[in-house]
Amino acid sequence: MPLKKTGPLGLWLAIGWVGFVLIPWYAQSRGLFDPGWLLAWDRQSTAPGLQQALLHGRLWLLPLVLPLAAPSLLLGRRQDTPAAANLLIVCGALGTLYCLGQGFLITHRGWGFEVLEAWFGPLGVRQFGIGGGASLTLLAFLMLFAQGIAAKGAVNGDRFVVGSITLIVVLVAAFIFFPVGRILTGALQGPDGGLAPMLFVERFLDNRIWGLGCLTGGPRCGVAWNTLTLALATGAGTTLLGLAFALVVTRTAFPAKRALRALTILPIITPPFVVSLAIILLFGRSGTVTQFFAELMGIDGGRWIYGFWGVWLAQVLSFTPIAFLVMIGVVEGVSPSLEEASQTLRASRWQTFTTVSLPLMRPGLANAFLLGFIESMADFGNPLVLGGNFQVLSTEIFFAIVGAQHDPGRAAMLAIVLLAFTLMAFWAQQQWLGRKQYTGVSGKGDAGMPTPLPTPLEWTAYAITVPWAVFTAVMYSMILFGGFVEIWGRDHSFTLRHYQDAFGVTQGAFGLVWSGTAWNSFTTTLWIAFVSAIPTALIGLLTAWLLTRQQFGGKAAFEFGTMLSFAIPGTVIGVAYIIAFNVPPIEITGTGIILILAFVFRNMPVGVRAGIATLAQLDKSLDEASLTHRATTLQTVRLILMPLMKPAMLAALVYSFVSAMTAISAVIFLVSARYELATTYILNRVEAGAFGIAIAYSSVLIVVMLVVIAIFQLVIGERRLGRRGAAAPSGFAGAGR
């Protein structure tokens, strides 16, 4: 009989104590990896928690000793007795709540609430944002709590599972719900910081949001209507195109299917603005097409591209591949044997398509439409570049923060409206359609040839897809060529000037000098994208595993919470982060950490979906076989699931890496002089009219991302599954980069 494996209680206690007495309690201005804080307990800024309490007058930290010390009583004893479980729960919960409570009550200004100051008098010392020490201590308390819950018998007493759930819940609460919640309070605040509910109502009913002036001959409609109209048009356009592409690829003998399929990777590797830039190069005032028609017919093209139609065109170009990807799955999910059954019952091809295939695709079509709708709502780059006087919510939020008006309250209000729209669409998708997607595809036992399309439909599909594909190809080649000409539309002589400006390397007195102006943002981007990809994949896959393999109370809420950030537009996250994380207890604006956190929690749903898709293909009996052969849950995850989930890991890693590299909407609020990213650099170039260098930089990013994807493929390797290969779920797009 094997001994019951002892719990990791000692480990968590040790971590808690290390955090409390060895590592600086507060955030370090030079980062935790600068060793200046080592053993420097005498300094206010670098002292760990215990020393802060004893030496620096922060006596309120002292009570934390109790919940950290009490669980030591259980070391070396059974922890699954009710008394032990209760002790762990109480210590964990008290420690956690006390840590959080003191963080919110005592801030950088002394007392966090005026009431407290009135009661207790002014406070001599203040607090900074929490640092490594406080985080470790907090983590230890959370895990003590989880151990207690597990010892009570929750989830079959599995400590690993309970600990994982606790950790993910707290992370999601801290980095999604807390900041988004702060937007709400932000919108309720007046200019002086006080509560102003009337101002909230006034802001909400603002004519600039809901006005219908354009219908009655006025100059413009409210920004909310603009956004909705655009999203509906984009959703319709991308869904139709996506369906046409999917039909051509899966149901016809079209010769260049592989080339068409390659389109699906484009939205993943395309930096924002690229599509808009290409459209300007083609249809702008000095664009190729505009000039061609100007010469031919003597008409001035004008500025029609800057407005609704330009943004719509750019969005349809950008998001059609996403709809394409969704629709491939949908069309392939229609069982060929159903179509064969229809034909043997004497239906013609056309009747089969309209009465069997199309109705079966309906949920998928609606799903693709909603995806396009959400993407369009959340899109920031295209409306910023091409919008002109046509404003949408995401750009208005941006201008409310950075523009001359600087009105965070209005930004928060706009963010709430935008969030409400996307959440409604997301909710509709989840409730009504989301689940139907998985049931359509069964892995086995469905032989039969897909029925060819009716001839008129086939030719319609060709007529739509071929020109569109050519158009897309032309655009991307414009980007590649555009970087090599002096000034597009005026001076087409060849030059490497743009590349030299951005990525020049010169020989200096002390070796190579990275003199190009883009190097700083480029290396920062690569580094941050890489660092954020790993936790994204790990947290995402862990969540997927919890969702598919474990049963626990509140699972539906857990699932919704973890998938929610998929529906939160990047601009909203950006505004939420600067509002929430500018002051203690979490004070991280201007750091690289805030960028990493933003990426991790924005891209997490992708990891979750990739994981769920892969786990659905792994029989649950594999886990059970491992458990009944005496492996612990942790061993099962490490030895069985992790190796088998490599493709999902790859998908999550690659996706979160490239989407971090191409993100703009959230991070534009979060970048700082020290941590500038590629996309914000490009945006600045675009705003300055330096298209050449913007295009050159974009081409470099595209190439880098292609290379990175290839390298990831090699490093992660193929699964050793012999012939039983399961397809890795391919890319997912998040809302609004």
Binding site: M1, P2, K4, K5, D80, G153, N156, G157, D158, D619, S621, L622, E624, A625, S626, L627, T628, H629, R630, A631, T632, T633, Q635, L639, I640, P643, L644, R719, R720, L721, G722, R723, R724
Partner: protein
Amino acid sequence: MTDVTVRFANVTKAFGEIVAVKDVSFAIRKGHLVTLLGPSGCGKTTTLRMIAGLELPTSGRVHIGERDVTNLPATDRDVAMVFQSYALFPHMTVLENVGYGLRVSGRPKREIRERAEQALDLVGLVHLRSRLPSELSGGQQQRVAVARAVVLEPEVLLFDEPLSNLDAKLRRRVREEIRELQQRLGLTAVYVTHDQAEALAISDRIVVMNNAVIAQIGEPRELYEAPADRFVADFIGDANVVEVTISATDGAVAEVVIGNAVRRLPHRGLGPGPAHLAIRPEGIVLAGDATEAAIGGRIKRASYLGSHVEYDIETPLGELFVTDRDVNRIHAVGDDIGLDLGTHGVTLVRV
């Protein structure tokens, strides 16, 4: 009670509103192979998973050996399980699969290798040790899964419908191998199946379950020849259940009126009055003359199956299903025929 390996005491398992296993008690003797048999949804798999520790009971106690394991998860129980889907780890070789349980228990590498090879030898697959599971046939995969479980020398070996994914011929062979191995190594095994022929063939004892409760526990022969109730009679083999009248009881014997005849049968606790009689298809003898036989009937359907003939016969007692070994004389549909009861395969049952 040292020879009892698994004991369930009043075990109930509920999933929300649904009760999958209701107040089930039984004991399994060391070295026995016990089958949990029943239709799908009867609770047999949940029972097995509670032995494994993959589900924990809602109430009641579970003992394995001397220990109360009621709240112990699978990892900490001395069991091993063979799954319907084989559940071989696709990224590990055959040898790595078999050595997995030893590896996670922290045994030295050398021991893992030796014992895994011994176990593979037991199932005759040692030559395939470096293959991946996907390169094996279904039967080979299931033998590997058996080896992977046996290598741990568990107190209880669990089988969850291990043969359902195999074709009919292979199924018989693998089941014989499993039985032979279990007896040779003296292992205690619990085996879930819905196939009554499989259960009869390999079990020391059978636990028949229906609707979350135990319908009957007994040796194969006992279940077939003395089913406790109508459900067991019908589920184990085929049975015609007809309504009869017990005219009198005398000691252990009841006089039963069946059609025109009176038969003396063990009364099995039933008193005079209406009763049910389970008659096996081979328990009815076809007589030439309809008028002299116990029951008169008319052939409704006749199917030739090579080794025997199957008849559906319309009688005053209802339609009877009869098998007849005499394939040289096949009665035609529409013929009148007399039926007598044989010496075997006729028993009174509770409803």
